[in-house]
């Protein structure tokens, strides 16, 4: 088969796109996924399995969601209460989307921005998740060979979503830990210049706010300066606000929509928002992505492109009903933030106790953990070595900063919203054991010939005497539907 494949490439039977690696899934970091899939953690059946901390899913309010669905059979077009709508919905493929869907989504977007700004339902364009939304925006704003500036570290999926089929380049805007990875004017200018030198016409700046993988939010001044930067250069600003409602900390989330009016002569034709219900509502399987643009022409064309990734009308109907239930939505957002804050606190308190650093942030479904002092050398090779130990020995699948294009080795994204309290405790215990073993080994080493600082090369045995009580109804690896192995690079 391999020989045949080579032959096929020679004959150019398949496109370069199909035969190449532009999908980004050959990166070494997918080993973490494999390790998890081969040996997934279960508190009773597989207590030594790999705990999935590389999956940015919001599972903390699934119970609220399920309860609502059970109490509202009319939201389904299949139940006795809703089946009278079946045929109308089943034939509905208008790429404008159900009006009630757009209205409900617009309202939800307003609520998740603390009702500080209005969203126009007529500007809401559907897409196949935020994945589809990003690709559509890239197709609309850039030609093959053009570039978008993207602050690092960034979500690894962007390499595929923005570049693969569009031919668009990503030019990194390097951010450093020295100032909490904030985006500086110097970094922006440097990136812009790099693009110019590489002959890449810059078409826009893509920011994720709240940030993945950092979990930080942009403050008002920074946001305004980014809008001004892009306006001055006549380039687009794309704000991926997929984590808007996951902001649980003291610093509130500010949407780009809020600052547009605060900037005199702002050219809103250059401002676009990508959104989705995958994170804020924990519904990645329903594929609800949104392109919201202030540019009429982009709205028109993105809408035509949405034919390639419309939201199932069955789902539009459900979401329209759900998000129109304002009491439910308010309660959901409130509880979600509380539970995220709690789970975040559990993780960070645990890490504090172990002397492990993490970037102060108040949003997202993950923390940005600092393991620089555990690296043999300040290199990405060292980071990969450490990561392999964490995956295979400590049995935690976390995401190495290198996969997020972080400029400095030693940072890891660790997700916390896809597990229950007990699993979190288990993960922390494993980290405790790991760090204490490193301590022991470095003490042993310091005695005779202390050259290395901390070494993690000994094999680590994990032992748990107690089996934790499994929280009924929570994320069950034995659900009838296979657990989301998520080969799509959402890490």
């Amino acid at each position: 088969m391999v020989a045949l494949t080579a032959e096929k490439q020679d004959q150019n039977l398949l496109s370069r796109m199909a035969a190449g690696d532009g999908h980004g899934e050959k990166s070494a970091y997918f080993d973490g996924w494999k390790a998890y899939e081969e040996n997934p953690f279960h508190p009773i059946d597989r207590p030594d399995g790999v705990i999935q901390m590389g999956l940015a899913e919001n599972q903390l309010c699934g119970d609220l969601m399920r309860k609502w669905v059970l109490e509202h059979p009319e939201a389904s077009i299949c139940t006795a209460e809703g089946v009278n709508q079946f045929s109308d919905i089943a034939i509905f493929q208008d790429y404008h989307g159900l009006p009630e869907f757009r209205q409900a989504v617009a309202k939800f977007m307003e609520k998740t921005r603390n009702n500080k700004v209005k969203f126009d339902p007529d500007r809401i364009v559907m897409s196949g998740g935020a994945t589809g939304a990003h690709e559509t925006v890239a197709f609309c704003l850039a030609n093959p060979g053009d570039g978008f500036l993207v602050p690092t570290p960034y979500y690894p999926g962007f390499d595929r979503d923005l570049r693969w089929r569009t031919g668009v380049n990503l030019v990194p805007v390097t951010c450093h830990s020295s100032n909490g990875f904030k985006i500086t004017a110097e970094a922006l200018d440097a990136a812009y210049e790099n693009a110019r030198v590489s002959n890449i016409p810059v078409k826009g700046l893509l920011i994720t706010n709240p940030s993945n993988p950092l979990g930080t939010t942009l403050d008002r001044d920074c946001l305004k300066s980014l809008v001004k930067f892009t306006n001055d250069k006549g380039i687009h600003l794309i704000a991926d606000e997929i984590y808007a409602a996951t902001s649980f900390g003291e610093s509130e989330f500010i949407s780009v929509a809020e600052v547009i009016d605060e900037i005199p002569d702002c050219n809103s034709d250059l401002i676009h928002i990508v959104y989705s219900l995958s994170k804020d509502m924990g519904l990645p399987g329903l594929r609800v992505g949104i392109v919201y643009s202030y540019n009429d022409r982009v709205v028109q064309i993105a809408r035509k492109m949405s034919s390639f990734g419309l939201v199932s009308s069955q789902t539009q109907h459900l979401i329209a009903k759900m998000l129109s239930d304002e009491d439910f939505v308010d309660e959901f957002i409130r509880k979600s933030k509380l539970r995220l804050a709690e789970r975040h606190a559990e993780l960070t308190t645990g890490l504090d106790g172990l002397g492990i650093g993490w970037l102060k942030a108040g949003a997202g479904l993950f923390i940005w953990m600092d393991l620089r002092n555990l690296l043999k050398t300040a290199t990405f090779d060292s980071e990969m070595e450490l990561w392999r130990v964490i995956v295979h020995k400590v049995k935690l699948n976390v995401s190495p900063g290198g996969s997020c294009h972080c400029h400095e080795p030693g940072w890891f994204r660790v997700c916390f919203a896809n597990m229950d309290y007990q699993t979190m405790e288990t993960a922390l215990e494993r980290i405790r054991v790991f760090t204490s073993q490193i301590e022991e080994e470095s003490l042993i080493l310091t005695k005779p010939m202390a050259k290395k600082k901390k070494c993690w090369q000994s094999s680590l045995r994990l032992s748990f005497k107690d089996t934790r009580r499994f929280e009924e109804g929570f994320f069950s690896p034995h659900s009838p539907v296979p657990p989301s192995p998520l080969v799509r690079a959402q890490i």
Partner: protein, 470 residues
């Protein structure tokens, strides 16, 4: 506007064509039996609305599937989290078996070779991305579904070169037409990567004969190119002859595990056969591992909603339901098609003999003032504005002969279809009498119209249009 891509500033999305403009007119004045009895009747919409009752009955009998439950327990949470681009295994298995059932279980489909997509719109585009570089071409027999101009070319940069088919032999594909198209592509310096056919055909409503299928397989074998068979209407066949898929032909020629079979890809969808276009369920079936692998990754841009996958896996796994449904669907389509054909005949209009699809390919050449596309569009305008029927002109389907129209029959009630035929009959009868007007005044009007029609046809439409109507 330099700040937007050329994909935005060009009109390559193809939605300025008359096919979509007819929609506008319908939307402004849609027929309603009670509220707007003089409105435009939609006959440009290839939808199957004849069998919803069967699905609704099934839903009532299957509360678990209907309620997103398994063994009485809600699995909503699990479905809400399921975004694996390999798709729900039970769904792909059920879909594979459904596709087998449609082909009389003569061929097998391996679920692992199925890639799910957001409708066949997405499936076709994805296949193009996998098989063609920008500037490379696929050959398509004319007339073809207008949406292909967008789906196959717009964002992929691929080209379409037509294989000209004519009414002289019922628009069948001939060897010389294939060769001519291939040579034409070469003249245009376009590398041909494959042939794409729709079988059963949209807009013809006919099935490819074994002769044509053999011809196609031989052709792609000799040229070492791909064959994509869009079989979206495979479950909507209602004649005496059974549907012959390209997979049947591969099997008959003993090419099932050959290298050639890796260059044959089938596209399917549940939008037509099951009447569920809103659910966005499309599929690519390929024997080429690399295509399956790449297309699967690309499906991230348009996965099928997990709640939809779950519902349909239950529906399609119920073999009693699928057997009954396919049978009943065929019966109802046949009756409705007959009604259209008789109605046309009463108006003195014939159509291409067909036994599949949701439409007929109607011959109105005798109603044209002249044998030109201008005359076709004139006639079409009259039919839309005066007769108040939205039908699709052949030119929008790239037909090489003027005077043919696609008329759909499965998206309305019997009464509405009757009314539509009545209107057409009245129009034809009045036209016959008007043809007795003096020739000179007729010539004057014709030359005036020629100019205004050209302006009208090619004006750019800046309003959004409903897509995806086959």
């Amino acid at each position: 506007m330099k700040q937007l891509s050329t994909k935005v500033t060009s009109n390559a999305h193809g939605q300025d064509s008359s096919y979509f403009l007819g929609w506008e007119e319908y939307e402004k004045n849609p027929y309603d039996e009670i509220k707007n009895p003089n409105g435009i009747i939609q006959m440009g919409l290839a939808e199957n609305q004849l069998c919803f009752d069967l699905i609704q009955t099934w839903l009532a009998k299957n509360p678990d599937a209907a309620g997103l439950k398994k063994d009485g327990q809600s699995i909503f949470k699990e479905l809400a989290l399921f975004q694996d681009y390999h798709g729900l295994p039970e769904f792909k298995k059920a879909l594979a078996e459904f596709m087998e059932e449609i082909r009389g279980n003569r061929v097998t489909f391996d679920p692992s070779k199925i890639v799910l997509a957001a409708g066949s719109t997405s499936a076709n585009e994805t296949l193009m991305f996998c098989l063609a570089e920008p500037g490379e071409a696929f050959l398509l027999p004319t007339p073809y579904y207008p949406g292909f101009d967008r789906d196959l070319k717009w964002r992929t940069g691929a080209e379409i070169v037509p294989i000209h088919c004519s009414s002289s032999n019922g628009f069948q594909i001939t060897e010389s037409a294939l060769q001519q198209a291939y040579q034409q592509a070469q003249k245009l310096d376009l590398k041909v990567k494959g042939v794409l056919v729709t079988n059963p055909s949209n807009p013809l409503g006919t099935m490819l004969t074994r002769r044509e299928l053999n011809l196609l397989v031989d052709f792609i074998t000799s040229k070492n190119i791909h064959l994509i068979s869009d079989e979206i209407y495979s479950g909507s066949v209602f004649g005496f002859e059974q549907f012959v898929s390209v997979m049947d032909v591969l099997k008959d020629k003993k090419l099932e595990n050959s290298e050639v079979s890796e260059r044959v890809h089938v596209v399917y969808s549940l939008s037509k056969d099951l009447g569920l276009p809103g659910f966005r369920v499309g599929a690519i079936y390929s024997n080429d591992e690399m295509v399956v692998s790449a297309a699967t990754k690309m499906s991230s841009f348009g996965l099928v909603s997990s709640q939809t996958q779950y519902l349909l896996s239950a529906l399609l796994s119920d073999k009693k339901f699928t057997g009954t449904y396919l049978n009943e669907n065929q019966k109802r389509l046949k009756i409705r098609q007959k009604q259209l054909v008789s109605g046309l005949e009463a108006a003195g209009v014939t159509c291409l003999k067909s036994n599949a699809g949701l439409f007929c390919w109607v011959d109105m050449r005798h109603l044209l003032d002249t044998n030109t596309f201008e005359a076709e569009l004139e006639l079409w305008k009259k039919i839309v504005y005066e007769v108040k029927l939205n039908i699709s002109p052949g030119s929008s389907c790239h037909c090489t002969e003027p005077g043919w129209f696609r008329v759909c029959f499965a998206n309305m009630s019997e009464e509405t279809l009757d009314l539509a035929m009545q209107r057409l009959k009245e129009y034809v009868e009045s036209t016959d009498s008007r043809r007795l007007i003096s020739k000179s005044s007729h010539e004057r009007i014709k030359s005036l119209r020629k100019r205004t029609v050209s302006n009208w046809v090619f004006r750019v439409s800046w309003t959004d249009r409903v897509p995806d109507e086959r």
